[in-house]
Amino acid sequence: MSLFSPDVLLAMLLGGLYGAVFGAVPGLTATLALSLFIPFALFMPPEVGLAAVVSLTATAIFAGDIGTVMARIPGTPASAAYTEEIYELGRERGPAYALGISAIFSALGSLVGTGLLVLGSLGMALVARQFSSFEYFWLVLLGVTSGILASPHLGKGLIAFALGMLLGTIGYDPALGHPRFTFGNVNFLGGINFIVALIGLFGLSEVLYQLMRRSDPRPEPTVLGLRGSVRRFFLDPLRLAPQERWLFLRSALLGTFIGFLPGAGSDFAAWISSNLKRLAQGTKEQVVLAGTSANNAAVAGTWIPALSLGIPGDTLTAIILGLFLTLGIHPGPELFTKNLPLVVEIYLAFLLASVIIMPLVGYLGALLAGHVLKLPRGVLLGLISGVSLIGAYAINNNPFDLYVLAFLGALGLLLRLGNYPLGQVVLGLVLGPLLEQHLMVSMIKTHWNLLSFFERPVAVLLAMANLLLLGGMLWTRLKQYRKLEALRSLSEER
């Protein structure tokens, strides 16, 4: 099936619209949209399902800006990086102009990210063919380290990550095949189903959390009118592109690089890129442009380690890797030799999503979102409850999965209430078994000789990268902590 077949194009269009609407509604994140969509994707041919997933993730990150412009509430964490600027821009020059800047530069950022995704993943896959379990161990550890350090609160990130990894130990152990923590229940032998876990952690827990919060924080949203909106949405922002080409290029490159780092993702990219422009006294347009092009370039960047090494760049790619494995597709260097047409299809889907889907669906989504934002909160929560139950059951037709759904929904609720990052649980769930597998295989191969982890040149380089990342991030955190303490004591003195 080619990318330009009606099935794939329709899936991309609908996936994009679904992502745009979900991304726009505050509280409904791209992760939740993807978690609820996976049960549908599992029943589609891989080419159709993956094309829809690419389109969904690309538009959902952009659509976070729709909620910000229309209701001053960022739809996704990535949009929170420049909330004030884009909201003010919408008030001063109209929502169509603010959303146009977001959509056009998101599309252009995604285009740069796609180019780098092709080059980066092909290059990484070539290099990774020489990798043994030692190099993979260090790479996965790099993902674990950056995943923990990327969370706003180190202790909470560590607990969330370890909880995810512990959930990943249920079932047969990946190296020797001994059943663990199954309590004699055959349903646990295959481990916790990743997709059921996702729906529980993001879908059901969202409903339980919103029920506890009761009040609806959404103010009356602005509705985008049709009149003159095409010019303001498409043409005016495009005029800005030649003028701000260097800022755009710098932000897109930075975004792709941050996306490429395991565990970082588009939120991180948007915060760093927009903060850099803010510090340089940039205008509102420039701050928005920097943030939005970086976060969408990062979406493509996160796919580089995911496709070439099988290591997720963020929570979204962790979910997508889960989908790959459920479909029987094994990401990594072998994917490029055994399933090259699928890889090419993913590249093309990104290209199509950047050039056509994102601007077009972005526009339609912006028109629709004003009305969707008016949907009563209870209706949305009811729909999420129903779809969570359907999705968790439909994967295996096994009622036992609904117990897992309920317990992980409750765990997700507790973590949300305590401000623990849920994304880290998912990353732990994916990276934990990988880390254990590469650790155990390496140890068994060398009869528990720990020095063997430092014998191969690339392994040594990766070990040093781990050390540098750990040292660098801890140093940055220490500096931030000292600054905060100084500010606190200053305010106390006053």
């Binding site: 607990i159 370890a162 152990d173 923590f181 009811g382 309920a406």
Partner: protein
Amino acid sequence: MTWERLVAVLALVLGGLALVLSLSLPKTQGPGPELFPRILGAVLVLAGMRQLFQTGTSRLQEGLESLPLSLKLFLFFLAAPLLVPRIGLAPSAALAAGLGAFLAGESLLRSLLVAVFTGLLAYCVFVRLLGVSA
């Protein structure tokens, strides 16, 4: 007591449980399947203890008054594995959706509409089109 501390206690308990249960895992020459859970158990216990002594911001009392609403939906989902084989997927999904909407403060009529829509989605798309056993 804060929600942060409650999760820290949970981490402590789960970490301790992992440590204890890993003792009964089969032994091999050198570390075997018990190594990883033991490391994770130790990490959870240590991180949980550290978190227990940190000051939290989200007070337990803040969400407690609306806890019964979440508890009702949680109990429904806990009963769902018994419900689905008896009444089928579409009616169970409809019940989940209707109950979710009703607990979130929607009127009975609107909750019914949400339930009917979700039931139809489950039946038409999943049962009829995708062949999920009902």
